[in-house]
């Protein structure tokens, strides 16, 4: 594998990959050129859609639906869009599924690599900035339509708060105070979040709002998958607090939806 070299290449795995394995590197401009500007070809690439995050009392809730589409076809019903990136942060992805998952994997290794080499954790700000640089290097691919637009959320151990970062295709990084949603159903999800968000929500309360936002997005947007009671497929939710990243189990999500649907039926 990698040759042991005597001059130090630094503590970033992303940079190490770029210098040692340029062929594996995301966003190579020649790969982007090789992709013709062919709309039909691009439609055959699975795209992931609605993702969101909102703050609550102890940290932040991050959530994503499970559908991936190829043009007008559903290509995947069970895709995961929310990934734990380290002990106190997680990423949700929207855009071209392949590059998104690849970038997530690279980002996970990046954080672990830094921690092991330096013997210390990156700050929340440092992690968010590194992700921004990684998205920027994907720009040539993004120009061809293979965009990666994540939401990065985590618990800032220094400031003792949950934090949410959103990104644009060019790697621009913006911090959101309370909540954010993006992807094809993002606008609808955001409308629900705006309507229901309050400061100082409980973990359960914030989870319920996140799931309701996904539900509303799925009602209005064909590319967003709502709860699938028949197959037992539910949106992924993670709660991040000082204690770490906690998966909300499918059964709990199912219960929330059952209650919600019963209430909607009555109303």
């Amino acid at each position: 594998m990698s040759p042991f070299q005597l001059n130090d290449p630094g503590s970033s795995f992303h940079d190490l990959l770029q210098s040692q394995y340029p062929r594996l590197f995301l966003g190579r401009s020649d790969t982007a050129h090789a992709l013709t500007d062919n709309a039909q070809l691009l439609q055959s690439v699975p795209h992931g859609t609605t993702i969101l995050a909102l703050r609550y009392r102890d940290g932040v809730v991050i959530c994503g639906d499970r559908r991936a589409t190829e043009g007008y076809t559903i290509s995947e019903r069970r895709i995961e869009k929310v990934y734990k990136t380290d002990e106190t942060s997680a990423i949700a992805i929207s855009g071209a599924a392949g590059p998104c998952i690849e970038m997530t994997r690279l980002f996970q290794v990046e954080l672990e690599h830094y921690e092991k080499l330096e013997g210390t954790l990156l700050s929340m700000e440092g992690k968010a900035n590194k992700l921004s640089q990684m998205i920027k290097t994907n720009l040539p691919m993004a120009m061809q339509g293979l965009v990666v637009i994540p939401i990065y959320a985590g618990y800032d151990l220094k400031r003792k708060i949950g934090r949410i970062f959103k990104y644009d295709v060019a790697g621009g990084r913006y911090e959101e105070r309370d909540y954010y949603a993006t992807g094809s159903g993002g606008r609808d999800a955001k409308a629900t979040l705006k309507r229901l968000f309050k400061t100082d929500l409980s973990g359960e309360g914030a989870t319920r709002i996140a799931l309701e936002a996904i539900y509303d997005a799925a009602e209005a947007d064909v590319a967003t998958g709502g709860p699938d009671m028949l197959r037992g497929i539910f949106p992924n939710v993670k709660r991040i607090s000082e204690q770490g990243v906690e998966d909300v189990p499918d059964e709990a999500v199912k219960t929330v939806y059952e209650t919600m649907i019963a209430e909607l039926g009555r109303g």
Partner: protein, 224 residues
């Protein structure tokens, strides 16, 4: 015209080996020891510069001798492991492959460079079962040893090795920690106060990354 003076290869290697050995024995020792739930790494280290480090999910590193030199190797090992795990899969990162890479690098420095590395390192891997554990000891000339139960590098390693041979028995973590502390204290005429040790475990009962440091407060509870 000046004549280059001749040194026989044997003499040169001997000189280098002697130089490296001297450097390594000046430092303090580090022990790797199997216990019931995994492998313990234990070093006599009063400084905040670590001798023990995580490499990957099940793999750890410990160095003895010159800090700058084994620190360099430690970083190279992490890069090697992370790159392998990224290109293939996390399961494909093994201590044996890493130990071989170390052996090659250290060996070529020994034969090609004027100054050999004054280091001795351990690469350990905890397996699902005890039989699958791996403890590799790599010396300054690149020679590699596949150890069982325990291994000692640096300082007065031969004496410690002898002491452990008669006293080692597989035990829970508490027992292993106490034995390490005892033999280190006996093998050293400098007085060791509590809290001057550096310890970490590879714990197979832990999920995901199995490396865990034991800080001074945790060690204290075990030494009670």
């Amino acid at each position: 015209m000046s004549m280059p003076y001749y040194v026989s290869p044997e003499q040169m290697m001997q000189d280098k080996a002697e130089y490296a050995r001297k450097g390594i024995s000046r430092g303090r020792s580090t022990i790797a020891m199997e216990y019931e739930a995994g492998i313990l790494l234990f070093a006599d280290n009063a400084s905040t510069l670590y001798k023990i480090s995580e490499i990957y999910d099940r793999i750890a590193f410990a160095g003895a001798g010159k800090y700058s030199e084994f620190e360099h190797l430690r970083k190279a090992g992490i890069r090697h492991a992370d790159m392998t795990g990224y290109v293939y899969s996390r399961e494909d990162v093994t201590a044996r492959s890493l130990a071989n890479a170390y052996s090659q690098t250290i060996g070529s420095v020994f034969s090609q460079e004027v100054k050999p590395l004054e280091i001795e390192i351990l690469v350990v891997e905890v397996g699902e079962r005890r039989e699958e554990n791996g403890i590799y000891r790599i010396q300054f000339d690149g020679s590699i040893h596949d150890e069982r139960s325990f291994a000692v590098v640096g300082g007065n390693s031969e004496a410690l090795n002898e002491a452990l041979k008669t006293r080692y028995a597989l035990s829970p973590l508490k027992g292993a920690l106490q034995l390490c502390r005892e033999v280190l204290a006996e093998g050293d005429d400098r007085k060791n106060g509590r809290g001057t040790f550096e310890a970490a475990v590879l714990d197979r009962t832990q999920k995901g990354r199995q490396f865990r440091r034991l800080d001074a407060a945790t060690l204290e509870t075990y030494f009670k």
